[in-house]
């Protein structure tokens, strides 16, 4: 019930800035999990997921970035190297 209520609020609020948090938190935490910590895709997906599963995940292992879509918003997190890890780019 709680999840359904949250979903209704979020769908009514797709233009709110807040919905960005769903794609960006997944993108950032998944990127760090994969490229900083070096864990498997499966473990990282489980770790990064919160409340709502992402609609799309596009991972580029060679260039080390991930683009995540959720609630009509998209976020890319990029691995910038060992020292500074991942950061959200847009």
């Amino acid at each position: 019930m709680k999840i359904i209520s949250i979903l209704i609020v979020l769908l009514l609020c797709t233009s709110c800035d807040f919905t960005k948090a769903f794609s960006s938190s997944f993108a950032k935490e998944y990127c760090s999990c994969r490229f900083v910590v070096g864990q498997s895709k499966k473990l990282c997906k489980e770790y990064a997921e919160n409340i709502l599963p992402p609609w799309t995940i596009k991972e580029n292992e060679e260039k080390k970035y991930v683009t995540v879509g959720n609630l009509f918003k998209s976020t890319t997190a990029v691995y910038t190297g060992k020292k500074y890890g991942c950061s959200i780019k847009d």
């Binding site: 800035d17 960005k20 948090a21 938190s25 900083v36 500074y84 959200i88």
Partner: protein, 366 residues
Amino acid sequence: MSHGEMMRTLIFIFIFALTVSNAHSVINWKQHLPKEEGFDKAKLDKLFNYMFDKKYKHNTDAALIIRNGKLIKEQYSNGYSLEHTHRTWSISKSVTNTLIGIAVHKNILNLQAKVKDFYPQLTGDKSDTMTLDHLMKMSSGIDWKEHYEENPFSSDVIKMLYVYEYKDMAGYTASRPVIYDPGKRFYYSSGESNLIMGMLKKSMGISDYENFPWKHLFNKLGITSATWERDGKDVFVGSSYLFLSPRDLSKIGQLYLQNGIWNKEQILPKDWVKYSTTPNKAWLLKQENDEVAKPGYGAQWWLNAQTKNGLSHPHAPDDIYMALGHHGQILAVLPSQNIIFVRMGADKDEKIDRKEIFKLLMSSLK
């Protein structure tokens, strides 16, 4: 060169290389028998069982104990090993404290520096008196909501980390209204740790800042696993985004246990550990109104300070201080027992009980 001279040269090179490679060996990583350092092995196993047994669903990835500078026990799980770095989450705040200690020691910053001199966008009369010291003690007076997954919609920290404010986390924090007099109200805020990091960045050149944690801390302690992620302004996310291996994290604890000295070098000011681990005035005022004993707070370090309701961790010594992070990350320093304890995990349901951990730890001492 004669054969004898060549041998002497080789021996000299060998001894020199050995000396250099041991330059950071403040901790002896050879695993020692628990009983040699005063532990009951069976009881210590009970503690590790509590943390690692899958039936408890505590999701512990790594744990280790150091006593008297010697590794007593370490264990890894869930695909982690001693080679892996790990999220520290809010343990980052305590390492932010370390960087500020170094900056103070080097006269780069002082604790009475006015925040407004670095972030003029702070508004209201109350912000005029806000200092770095207030930020260190989580008592800036800035209006802030530190909620996580349980209430993300009104959370400033979620907004700062994941909405659009990740582009300038310190700037976002400084844009919030100052509604309390600085130094009067304790409120745990990730924004304040990022404001601290922003002040550090503004106190030096860009290349000095980019290398500061490595040049002045990590390299000196032989820490090789560090990753410190940054926001859109290239400010280290001092609240949350430091990654370290458990062994490297324990070195931060050992540095504090040694009062800021590493390999005979005073890295932190002499009184820094005392400053960081003394209950701050704003927290003392707050605990008067708490209905149960909650952990104390110094400067970016958690404490087991005495409250009117007793100790928050009744089984732990009252001199323990802790760096704590989301999902159950723990770095604990027990000066009276000469112990460093590290636990890292992905305990998303926060099921693990710190009180139980310290109860089992203390009962394992003979």
